[in-house]
Symmetry: C2
């Protein structure tokens, strides 16, 4: 059936960030709704941030369009332009290749929930302006490296 | 700024369906949020259905993954399996190439609102099991035809 039973979609915790950079996403959980429904062309994740958690390190994608829809609570969208409050029914677009590092952070005292859509590009590089981190997806696979390209 | 001011995104009415097949979507309006934010790899539309309106004729895409997120009200998802109630926080996935014609219809007495994501494939064909209609996007452009391929 096309309708997803969200209560049965696994709730993922943890991160594939190098351990030294993992603390920022403590309190983040995510459910892969698109995967649960068999979609492959883009991912759709339902992400919950506990108070204090961030969605990610600030980042921007070279190749993948990203879209955010706020579902519950109040989060701050932090990017090069500053901080923008996001509440249910708010949306944000991050066009591929626009070098504006962004993330969502929860400075409220309740959970914040959003839906995020990201294309699945065959070749991708993701930039993290605030930390010594890069993400690459190429013919050698998916991996985090230092900005220099050195492995962690 | 990445955040979209939804109040300033044009509210589109009407349809590009042939006039004889247009009545089903009377009462449908849509805002193209992804376009407003410069996204090109997929469309993200915020769609409002007045009581009695449908999202589209039942259809399925050969090439484009489709995702629906319910925002407001109560709609019925109608597909080959029957009818499924959709309420805020419900999601549905329609994988490209799965021949299960679907649409959302509003049989309630209040508006229903949903977000819909669809890949922008270079080559696409969309099938409409209930009516003499096909949609094609190919090297000759985007167009509706009869099932036979004849133009309207």
């Amino acid at each position: 059936m096309p309708k997803i039973d969200i209560s049965r979609v696994p709730v993922r915790t943890g991160t594939s960030y190098p351990p030294a950079l993992a603390a920022i996403v403590e309190g983040r959980t995510a459910q892969r709704l698109g995967d649960a429904g068999g979609l492959t062309q883009y991912g759709v994740n339902l992400v919950r941030l506990a108070p204090g958690a961030a969605s990610a390190h600030r980042h921007w994608h070279e190749a993948e369009d990203e879209f955010v829809w706020m579902v519950e609570g109040e989060l701050l969208l932090v990017d090069d332009e500053g901080e923008t409050v996001m509440r249910p029914g708010d949306a944000a677009c991050f066009k591929a290749g626009v070098a504006n590092g962004h993330h969502l952070v929860n400075r409220s005292d309740a959970d914040g929930v959003f839906l995020v859509v990201g294309t699945r590009a065959a070749l991708e590089r993701c930039h993290y302006p605030d930390v010594d981190l890069a993400f690459v997806n190429d013919e050698n696979g998916r991996r985090f490296t230092r900005k220099s390209g050195e492995p962690y």
